[in-house]
Symmetry: C3
Subunit: 211 residues, 3 copies
Amino acid sequence: MPILEILDYAGVAVFAATGALSASRKQLDIIGYLFLASVTGIGGGTMRDVVLGATPVFWVRNPAYLIVCASAGLLMFLTAHRFESRYRMLVWLDAVGLSAYCVMGAAKGLAATGSPTVAVVTGMLTATFGGILRDLLAGEPSVLLRPEIYVTAALVGASVFVCATIVGMPLAATSALGVVTAFAVRGGALRYGWTLPTGKAGPGRDPSDVM
Amino acid sequence: MPILEILDYAGVAVFAATGALSASRKQLDIIGYLFLASVTGIGGGTMRDVVLGATPVFWVRNPAYLIVCASAGLLMFLTAHRFESRYRMLVWLDAVGLSAYCVMGAAKGLAATGSPTVAVVTGMLTATFGGILRDLLAGEPSVLLRPEIYVTAALVGASVFVCATIVGMPLAATSALGVVTAFAVRGGALRYGWTLPTGKAGPGRDPSDVM
Amino acid sequence: MPILEILDYAGVAVFAATGALSASRKQLDIIGYLFLASVTGIGGGTMRDVVLGATPVFWVRNPAYLIVCASAGLLMFLTAHRFESRYRMLVWLDAVGLSAYCVMGAAKGLAATGSPTVAVVTGMLTATFGGILRDLLAGEPSVLLRPEIYVTAALVGASVFVCATIVGMPLAATSALGVVTAFAVRGGALRYGWTLPTGKAGPGRDPSDVM
């Protein structure tokens, strides 16, 4: 499925770049760039393949993905210091990767199980796990805990892709629709600070609750 | 095995609720609740299935588990702010999940490998991994590092279940025995602050040791 | 392959000891020692087996590895407080484990896929993942973010092993060569503070970049 392969490479490359940007923010050495780039680039897809039982995972079956990660990491090592704000670039690239990967993950989940529920969840997992791993390893505040919409964008993109597929739209259309929707949601959240209502603050003010 | 299925659903639902309570403590949005609920609810069992090679993992084979997590997350989103202490509720629900899951994990490990050692370890892993993941992702101090007995309760519950099974007790009895023992140990630790002796503090007072 | 088995047990035992040393630094109880010892000892190999699809993972197929972890953890529980600097001991044992495991992981990756690229990556992953997991769970600053060469040593050791294997050297020689090279690189980094050039600091001084 060429279009899905393109999305896969795009997701890997762009997430790898965000991992390298985290390495840059932490002033790591070249290997640190390559390591964080690889973990971020292939983390989500690895998680997806593992839970689906599609092992050996994709980058073991096709090492080209590792070359993509290494190249993205190297490119960032050489250029990252030039960017005005590596953080802003990181979150926007991350948004692109999230959009490509939520569709890719949903497609693989749907093909493997035929269950729309599982497809939406694998899409969301694939799209968010790499970034979560990157933040954990780089010791950055997790993207999960930031106020703006993040997981939601992946969830919406994956759901749109799955619904469009169920109603029988062609793959190219469903993929494009899913990617664009996810990016629109995440991009809007970044640009206009969109948020969802948070849980009401409880009365709980006892010491243990502060912990 | 109905009784094990009940334990599995109970473990998933209760752990999912603890994940949602963490989301509540972090004032996340509804999707944050659902995400942390799902990761916490299915994390331990996913780990168990992956190391046992029982893939696709349980929630991919049976998406009902995802519905359970989402429902628990939604329920908490609507009610958590009402609780006097969400933290106290979190640790007690976590104790219930731990008790159900250590038996469930041990049973699956024993069925898959026949090795009591592996069964005890998978039981412990299944019971503790979801909570560890929850704390890591929510940026809370890991339950692992708290003084009170935690992993120990899962270890004891799984061991009791395995031994009772080896001596030939019926499944219903071994399961009940394991769950009750684990809960008694963890509950006692929470209620009476039971602890195990810690390693002696070393002389090591050199700067690097402080790190 | 006896020599690889020896490396595997050595890697597991030594990494397990480092996990127990972390537990000691955190003043955990005996179960905390055993838990961190096991996670650190088998974490890297588990990751390797999972991505290669070699499940059930090695310690499920052969529980002896769990006994090794438990013994190393117990030994440390009884003796760790005697050491002048548990931190220094931790990093040196970690260097030994890293050297043994990068060769072991590369060998398994090469045997499973025949791809040198994959072999180098699985070698690096196997050697570093246990330590990364240990630091994450113990809440210590990740070894990844420390200035000294770490991942690089595993990468070099795995690469040397793979190249030597490709040119047809006997297994005993390639293994020894890989282990010695990795240890020389990591040891030199620890002893003489070797580092690689880090990415240039960017101009990016906007508030979000500080985050």
